[in-house]
């Protein structure tokens, strides 16, 4: 398992989801992806994207306008 990060700050829906989706494709099962974003819509969309694709959100951290959503890549392909 390894930790990864993408910067989706100042991007608006659905670009943070697209960046997350594209990054997850390159990761291994069990890896964690920290998605940095500022669009509050990501708080809804990234967890939804995770649910429909079998991944999970292990943490959401807010720092003022910035949000970090931690995506845990599914153990097996969903």
């Amino acid at each position: 398992m390894s930790e990864h990060e993408i910067d989706a700050r100042n991007l608006l829906c659905p670009l943070p989801v697209i960046r997350t989706q594209d990054a997850v494709k390159k990761l291994q099962p069990g890896d964690r992806l920290h998605v940095l974003c500022t669009d509050p819509g990501a708080l809804h969309d990234i967890p939804t994207w995770c649910r429909i694709n079998g991944h999970s959100v292990s943490d959401i951290i807010k720092h003022g306008r910035e949000i970090t959503i931690v995506v845990q890549v599914a153990e097996r392909e969903a």
Binding site: P14, I18, P40, H44, D45, T48
Partner: protein
């Protein structure tokens, strides 16, 4: 045992594609969704920016629909490829700068590439004969099938009984009798089917999902091209057209003025790309300048910025002007009055 057939559905987030997908799921087809992000999609961008809309739901409707249907959704960034559709539509524009027929051909073609790459059998759309004036007419729907290359691998479940049988029907993968014969602009059949399927909540009907169909937005895009002397755009350009007041006081520059705190915060992200202005001692908007203003233009821009801030009624105000390198200077100006601003400046 027969082979499990697979289809990809173009999911806009609206009701029609939701119903069409459900109809195929009910016939035992394995369906995954695909959604193309062109940059012009109306998907909560403005809501995400404007503070006054903070309480409104910001969900992505395509993702929401996929979750309701229990299918995967692939969101594909087509921003670069889509430029050619917007700039050079072979079939022309609709009422504004909406190249609806070329857009549908493009998206079905992209879906065709996707099914070929992923081993899927056919494509589903929520199109209905006669529903849209450009891309969903009896004479243009075959054009989409033909020019996209999808031909008879394109299935429109909501109006399939009005169209020639497709490959999945002829092969017996799906039953024509369990599809529909909807036509025309009425939404009643879709709403009745939604009720039958138990869909209580769904997004507004299709057609309002693209900024290019919006007259005011299209005017701003046309102005952008005219101001630059060439027809081209980048993602930032088309995002900024959705935000703030746009005024063009002179042919060689325009201003983007935040209307509230959320928009000002969003425009802050572009400070390094544009000369920008803000009042010094009074609350007020951030304004970006796009173009090549000279010193007198900047003074005019400063007077305009004052007009939209809290100090609009004072005699003179200080305005901070900062260039792309971060070098700043303060000018003192008299705010413009409402009467000083010709309506023609507003885009």
């Amino acid at each position: 045992m027969s082979k499990q057939r697979k289809a990809v559905a173009l999911i806009s987030g609206g009701l029609d594609s939701m119903l069409a997908t459900k109809a195929m799921l009910d016939q035992g087809i394995r369906v995954e969704g695909i959604n193309f992000f062109t940059g012009f999609c109306v998907e909560g961008h403005t809501h995400a920016i404007r503070r006054q809309d903070a309480a409104k739901p910001k969900r992505n409707n395509a993702l929401w629909v996929a979750e309701q249907l229990g299918i995967k959704l692939h969101i594909v960034d087509v921003i670069e490829e889509y430029k050619d559709v917007v700039l050079n539509p072979e079939h022309g524009y609709g009422a504004n700068l909406n190249p609806c027929l070329d857009c549908k051909i493009f998206m079905v073609h992209k879906a065709l590439e996707w099914i070929d790459a992923n081993g899927f059998d056919f494509i589903i759309t929520g199109e209905v004969v006669g529903q849209r004036p450009m891309s969903q007419r009896k004479d243009t729907m075959p054009v989409v099938a033909r020019e996209s290359g999808a031909e008879d691998r394109l299935v429109r479940p909501l109006c399939a009984q009005k169209l020639p049988a497709t490959l999945p029907e002829r092969e017996g993968w799906i039953d024509r009798e369990r599809m529909f014969a909807f036509s025309g602009r009425s939404r009643k059949p879709q709403m009745a089917l939604a009720k039958q399927y138990g869909f209580v909540e769904y997004a507004q009907p299709a057609g309002g999902c693209c900024f290019l169909t919006d007259e005011q937005y299209a005017n701003k895009l046309a102005d952008l091209w005219q101001g630059r002397g060439e027809r081209r755009y980048e993602l930032d350009d088309i995002m900024l057209l959705k935000v703030g007041r746009h005024l063009r006081p002179r042919p060689h520059f325009k201003m983007i003025i935040g209307r509230e705190e959320g928009e000002n915060n969003f425009l802050e992200g572009y400070r390094k790309q544009f000369v920008h202005l803000r009042a010094v001692n009074y609350d007020g908007p951030l304004a970006l300048i796009d173009g090549t203003p000279d010193a007198s233009d900047l003074k005019l821009a400063a007077r305009l910025v004052c007009r939209f801030g809290k100090g609009r009624d004072v005699e003179r105000m200080q305005v901070l002007i900062t260039d792309q390198q971060g070098d700043s200077r303060v000018v003192e100006v008299a705010p413009l009055t409402t009467d000083d601003i010709p309506q023609a400046w507003y885009l």
